[in-house]
Symmetry: C2
Subunit: 418 residues, 2 copies
């Protein structure tokens, strides 16, 4: 019999159907047993009165995979207004161990983060964790859809590199056929070089940081949503694309998951770093924004512009990577930006240098990265781009306190399994 999903039961009232999924919860009462079956779409309630079926279900602990063929019967008290009655039940997997390391049927996972991560394959089945990963999938889909509509072409770039792309620090070293190589910390130069081919490119892929910080927001591997576009006037063209991208991402998250999302204004307020310091009440010689300053800017944007988002532009060149384009009117500042969401940095981007000779003038050791820089000899348009850390984006959107809550199998200083 063709299997249907839990969410399709209501349209099959009084018919015999088959559902399949995991034993989410059993309640074996005196004269009746209730079985909650979880599939990827949701939950089904099964009512068992037949002693033989009840006896079988008694041997099938939580998380056993079963197939249930039964009649769809109206019951206003059941989830979705229907339940399954007169079932036959068949186990499809071996019985799960008893007891499980933690319960999945409670509203929240009560196990510590370490225990959840030790048993990630089980913890991710909890609706809260699964929903966060659905938000992640929707955010990535929204990123791609928005960019595809604007002529961006998807690229796949090397994750193994001969020289560290961004800096020598925090880079993983590997044995590459007997010689050293490195895991890419970003697709930065590759996406820039591909602007020379497609003008507008994007990549969704893993990046690697040997972060010595054991915090709620650092991972050794995360998914970077990268975009880069050529023939820009300056960083404001990049900010305009990013605004559509963030709007597309939250719209897709909302449409696919029903999770509450913030409103992205058609034009996100922007404030120059020099003004941002003043608004945040910081001394005007501060070289960077501290978390407290970012929070103050978030409050300002909400108060003055009714916006959860605010761009800070013009960060001091001294604090940005060497490939950042300076602000033409005052080269102490840069044509770069951060996008803050409720006072937290969400995205970093800006205009890049595009002339080979400019790279030779400012790169810390141009000969070491000549493999990348040579590509700029062949004519590159003014260009810029941005990178969104998918896990941090989802954590901020869902309010997760730890980026590990929204990552399937996180990697950090202490953890390389499962």
């Amino acid at each position: 019999m063709q299997r249907i999903l839990s969410t399709e039961l209501a349209t099959h009232e009084n018919r015999t159907v088959t559902v399949a999924g995991w034993v989410h919860r059993r309640r074996l009462l005196k004269s009746v047993a209730f079985l909650i079956v979880r599939d990827a779409a949701g939950l089904s309630q099964v009512v068992i009165t037949d002693p033989a079926v009840r006896a079988l279900v008694g041997t099938l602990p939580e998380e056993t995979v079963i197939e249930v063929t039964a009649t769809v019967t109206a019951n206003a008290a059941a989830p979705g207004g229907v339940e399954l009655t007169e079932p036959s039940v068949r186990a499809l997997s071996g019985a799960a161990p008893v007891p499980l390391p933690f319960d999945l049927h409670r509203p929240a996972l009560s196990a510590t983060m370490a225990t959840q991560l030790d048993h990630a394959a089980l913890a991710l089945r909890h609706p809260s964790r699964a929903t966060a990963l659905r938000v992640s999938a929707a955010a990535a889909a929204g990123f791609r859809e928005t960019l595809e509509k604007q002529r961006f072409v998807e690229i796949h770039t090397p994750k193994i590199v001969g020289t560290a792309t961004e800096s020598g620090a925090n880079v993983f070293t590997l044995d590459y056929f007997g010689r050293p190589a490195y895991l890419a910390q970003s697709p930065q130069f590759y996406k820039q070089l591909m602007v020379g081919v497609f003008e507008r490119v994007y990549e969704v892929g893993p990046v690697f940081r040997a972060e010595p910080h054991d915090t709620a927001r650092h991972l050794a591997q995360y998914t970077s949503l990268d975009a880069e576009l050529g023939f820009i006037e300056d960083h404001r063209d990049v900010m305009a694309v990013l605004t559509t991208v963030v709007a597309g991402m939250v719209a897709t998250v909302s449409a696919r998951t029903g999770v509450d999302v913030p409103v992205v204004p058609p034009e996100i307020p922007a404030v120059h770093f020099a003004d941002a310091l003043r608004i945040a009440g910081a001394p005007d010689d501060e070289p960077d924004l501290a978390p407290a300053h970012e929070r103050a800017l978030g409050e300002w944007a909400l108060r003055e512009h009714g916006s959860d988002f605010v761009f800070v532009t013009g960060y001091p060149m001294a604090k940005r990577p060497f490939y950042t384009h300076p602000q033409p009117s005052d080269p102490r500042w840069s044509n770069s930006f951060d996008l803050l969401f409720r006072g937290l940095e969400l995205v970093t981007g800006g205009q890049r240098l595009h002339r080979h000779e400019d790279y030779l003038a400012v790169a810390p050791s141009p000969e070491r990265i000549s493999g990348y820089l040579d590509g700029f000899r062949y004519g590159m348009p003014p260009h810029g781009g941005f990178a969104i850390g998918l896990e941090r984006f989802v954590a901020r959107l869902t309010g997760a306190a730890n980026v590990r809550e929204v990552t399937a199998f996180p990697r950090d200083l202490h953890r390389v399994t499962p």
Copy 2:
């Protein structure tokens, strides 16, 4: 002035427009100069009669990035039926070096593959190489779109693993905060475990093989299109999904790039390994199909079924990974398959084991991979999946002789730059 694309010129006849792109070719004749400007969309022809503009263009060698503001004028002999006249020209990049390592304006790249790879950022601008990467982007998009329509959820899994996932051979070792770790050769176990969360999952991401083979089809990093689905009867359910996926991929490639694509029959012919040996004229105790056998099967499928595609099922268990599900009626054979395209292996897949105790019985060293296997303790449905190597798929679709021709910055035994 708002920039338009080369492909939009024809709809702007007799108007003044701005195009921007790369100097694809200059021809400086006695009384007139022709400039071909290449943008991501195509080519524009610019006719220069003004001596001052001609003098400027004389200083802008091929690949210099320029902006041209000019009048769109009908000329039946020009590409697209229009050309740009009375131009003003502005350089946006530094001038490219003279001479370039190879010409981009000839129909085919004449440089050796090694030279092309040494100057990849330039070579990828050649229309033949750029088109191959557009085919790649379209194929990945078709893969995702087809699966999203069938309830598959995108996942991102670790590329750094504590134990080699598939086998100890051909794995890259890295220094992970002072201890050894490995680059994932596939997302195999992770995608299987995620079937326990979403029932149907897919991933587009890099995989890593320390391939000691220096051939036209091996790369140290390639993009793997992975899918896995639960609640299957057997491998035939996986083959049915794969058929829709391949059809979706080639349809998207055709729609987006205009590249000629093969017809994917609604039901691809399938032949069991035992029969395949007979058809290929191989001895019936052969443990695997040699390339000559695969070619013979390709010819047979075309002759008997008019199909460029053919499934071979039931490969001997001895030749498949330990997680392969045996054929229930005869456990010498497996519930696995290869999809051949014109006599070449295109995709591998099959049904997997789903019971924890089955893994313990057959895994070569279950304790070594317990981090993965433990996930199977918690109830896994019958499931299976497949993996498509994106670069090989594109090479076969476009007829490229070397997988490096369709890869942006390939990594192999000898090459880790640029």
